[in-house]
Symmetry: C4
Subunit: 352 residues, 4 copies
């Protein structure tokens, strides 16, 4: 017997351990889950034309993202309510990311307070994902807390003005299990006054637009990224309006179904950003070769969502670390086999 050999095997373990509504909440997508599948397939369809006879005895996976040095171009995407996966919740995840030398992006829908997460891994790089609240004061307060707790960037989610229709969550209505609380949402009046999914109601703010972005940028000196971009024109505008980067995502296939797979959108967005900001990509990253392909298309880093949760459910902090190690090692192997000792050697010419 061996431990899980790949991300899929981590998912299989997590599926066994988690209650079905929780597993489905994490794993599911919207509508017919076309984009959920396409995110994975789009990377898998791309073919690599590797180089030979390059000295790859030392691979250097280090990079710098918005000034933060990382051991690898793989960071953690924001995902909700980690205590559903493991009692240690986001603290475990933060420790794992810190120990691996990469960024954890904490979700607004965290089950552990952002300060406590910061304390769990004080030296680790961390970003804060933000939903723009109905109540501007709450948004302001959350940003201030993130600044105070030394989060290094604000990542505003922009692909969820309303909640995507995730039918699995409607079939066995998703409610956080007893004792798991979306701590940053406590006290939001809409959280308690509606029978609908309280998280969704509190967070989705359909009026948010480019004007609010300017206001948000003024709230702190932290670099701001927008997450959920798939279009070149949106990416260009974000940079033009002062964003430090764009985070390409379709929310893991959980929002607009039949959205373009992020893999298929990277090249255009990278060309539009044209080096003036960071480009991060999530959605469908399950193998080191997926990371290699995203970088070949021009992304600066990738982010993983569900894989971290499978690791967390399987073995807490150790599990998250194991997933990160696995993808790092797979990327390192892929770079060796592609003839790319450094990230700088990875370019579009690798793609058939």
């Amino acid at each position: 017997m061996t431990g899980p050999l790949n991300v899929s095997e981590f998912e299989a373990i997590a599926r066994e351990r988690l209650d079905l509504p929780v597993y489905d909440y994490y794993a599911g997508g919207s509508d017919d889950e076309v984009t959920l599948r396409e995110n994975i397939e789009a990377f898998r369809r791309m073919r690599l034309k590797y180089r030979v006879l390059v000295d790859v005895s030392e691979r250097d996976l280090r990079t710098t993202l918005l000034g933060t040095p990382l051991t690898m171009p793989i960071i953690l995407a924001p995902t909700a309510l980690h205590r559903m996966a493991h009692p240690d919740g986001e603290s475990a995840t933060a420790r794992a990311a810190a120990s691996m030398g990469t960024i954890m992006t904490l979700s607004t829908i965290s089950s552990v307070a952002l300060e406590e997460v910061a304390q769990a891994a004080p030296d680790g790089p961390r970003w804060f994902q933000l939903y723009h609240f109905h109540d501007r004061a709450r948004t302001e307060e959350l940003v201030a807390r993130a600044v105070a707790a030394n989060y290094g960037a604000i990542v505003l989610t922009v692909d969820a003005p309303v909640l995507g229709r995730r039918e699995k969550d409607l079939r066995h209505p998703f409610m956080p299990p007893d004792g798991v609380v979306a701590v940053h949402l406590l006290g939001d009046p809409r959280t308690v006054t509606t029978g609908d999914n309280p998280i969704a109601v509190a967070l989705n703010q359909p009026s948010v637009n480019w004007t609010d972005l300017a206001w948000l940028r003024g709230l702190s000196d932290l670099p701001l990224l927008i997450k959920g971009v798939v279009r070149a024109d949106d990416a260009k505008r974000a940079i033009d309006e002062g964003c430090a980067g764009v985070w390409m995502s379709n929310h893991g296939g959980r929002q607009l179904d039949t959205s373009i797979a992020t893999a298929d959108a990277v090249a255009d967005v990278v060309d539009a950003v044209d080096g003036r900001g960071a480009v991060i990509v999530d959605g469908g990253i399950r193998r080191g070769t997926d990371v290699l392909k995203a970088l070949a298309l021009g992304a600066d880093a990738v982010a993983i969502g569900r894989p971290q949760l499978w690791g967390l459910a399987a073995d807490g902090e150790n599990g998250v670390r194991a997933v990160l190690e696995m993808l790092r090692d797979e990327l390192s192997t892929a770079m060796a086999l592609a003839g790319c000792p450094t990230l700088g050697d990875i370019d579009r010419d690798l793609l058939a």
Copy 2:
């Protein structure tokens, strides 16, 4: 337990309730049912490049079709013999459409007389679908009755000069169940004098051509649309010859098998019509994102055929309304997620 979450689940309920010959008559297509499947797949294959940071807090789905204000760009396509699905038949459907603020298109092969349908929902917008009868006098009479009963448009079906070969209907020969009568066909001599499918025999009129169209236009002041168009040249000619619009359709995959999916034909037809008439599309609409895509390609509205029947079979008037609400809500969500607060914001640039 929840109610049906999507159109497919409505179909599952209908399949349980209906006798197999009736279900097969509604659900089946011609020959190998290639086009039946393709209609759905063609929409599903299209990928959306949604926009972000647009204020979508208010979505406006209202439109005007041939002068008729609608609450949404989704109307009911003509389908046969609603009393096979529910005792209230077309009256229930008409009440549902009216209550939702959209058009019901009554089929010539109605199981309730057009006047009775009009009375069931006197204020609802309604169109009348016409088969050109062998006997011109009958055609004339039907149009006159439709005018008298305040139908707002005549929709001439042109993709059924002969009946497509629907093998399911041949395997367990389709005959309307006892008590369900194609009321507008009563008295047609061919209905009674042949052993073949009486509806088909009465209706299919293979000689109908552009000349008859001119004659038809002269029968009333109602706007005339032709339904069953998939070609740009046919669409252009229809407009040139005075039609108020074209209704793109391949009869739901029930006529010429391996016809092009309507989704794949929209762009060319829209370009040919060039704004000089309305373009309506049916075939394969099962999700709000399908509606969004049809509109993005340039259609003015979509029509749904089978989904209304699944709703009718599941719960009569309420079921039809539930299906319309479902698609309206899905479209509203899709518009929000695509960054399109109004129908005017939906254009081809959304499609990858």
Copy 3:
């Protein structure tokens, strides 16, 4: 209960009636049967853009092929040893073709002598398919007999210089059943002196080339076609060298596996022939829409191989006739639905 509704249902009946080795001999293809499947799929993948509002009350399916008037552009391809399918063998097939007003192409590997077949349907149009024998005298004799028996054309098979590897026939070695004899091969020395498939050994003549074609043309005044063409240059040369036409075929996927599907090769061949000779297409015709597509690509007629055998196995002469009627009716329906009252109305513009 109804009779078979389509060609597939005829095949199902035949599969039940025939001994497995015989069914497999008829149904099988070479190697991995890629081309066998592709022939069918290539037609099925093509999409039709039908025309509307054309008077199609009278469809005229008549055509003339090499001067022979036919009731429809569907003829019978040569297939081997009909007595394996039905005791009446090729005589039954000939009677069926004659009664339907179309051509039967008799195979050299007939189980009934060509004169007897001619007598069975003296007024029916018939062509003779020829394998170029090792022994030129035998070839000469067969052509002379065909001339004497009023066959209207010689169809030289050119895609079988050696026998394709049909693994099903090797698994349960194919030998004609007792009493079924390839009558035109009797007395061929190689038929009796080898343990291999006697038919194959007698017939495959790998040296046959363009020079032999000239010699063959000199043997009679009958028009000569070559059967087995998929290339434009070969087609052009055949016409240049005096052939009356080319018969596009890949031998029903029984010779070179992974050959191009004939459907995918028609347009180029038609363009190369440029009206200077007839173009006949076989391979994958199972529906009237397949015929329509072949004609739309520019073929003058299609030929059916296996479908006639399924009909013959199911019900002898009546079965062959039923298959021909079925395809004729399907073609007529397809022409009506495509807006093509005559064969002359069918052109490439119908294909998406």
Copy 4:
């Protein structure tokens, strides 16, 4: 009952005879085995446009590869540890290749010493596949031994700077069975001092680069090929730097998963080499038509890996010979059916 009819049936026999870890070691690929499958599918997808009326009574499959006359353009690729498949190991394979008049390429990871293999088939053409060892002296020594034993070329593997992740080997860790030894690796210090796959550790040498190639060329007068090339620029450079040819391969889908299928890379590489060196292709060759396609794309020869092992496992020397005969006969048949009596007649125009 008949013997195996094709390569797949040989594999089925081998699968039954071999212990699962051995079968999996031979059959498996890296990661998700995408490239393993794609190698086969890419050839299968290509369509042939065969020529007719060419005299193919004599097919000449002979070719000359780097000055060595061969009876066919099919050689044996290096594969590891033949004694796992059959007690006679590489000696049996060598005798089979020699008796068939083609090249055996002996792997560095041989289970029989290169001298003993040479003695087993002294007159057969043989090449030696080389891994560049960590210890240059060992590399030097192996090349010297290959020269002394009359190997005709050195084939340096360049697509394995590190070992691809073959999960099947990790699930039931692969270790050579008792008594099967990688004889050329004996005494390598890293072979004995690590718990990891000893073969991998000894061989993978990630620093090897173009500079080492120059050094290697100086070690002997033998022609040098690099094996594992999929890129045109790498191929061109190899020739520019004095290689006698390039061996296109992705290591049978065992190294970088989602690499381009070799079939899809041939044309570009052939164009880049432009006749200045030999081009050999392995990966996915299972049928004579695959060989034909590789040659049509411009390859000089193909190499088979797994198929030889299936033959060896099934019946030792006779089994390897049977596989070679089978592919030779299939190629001969394919050439006949494609209208190509000689290898020189095979060109890209055969491909659709």
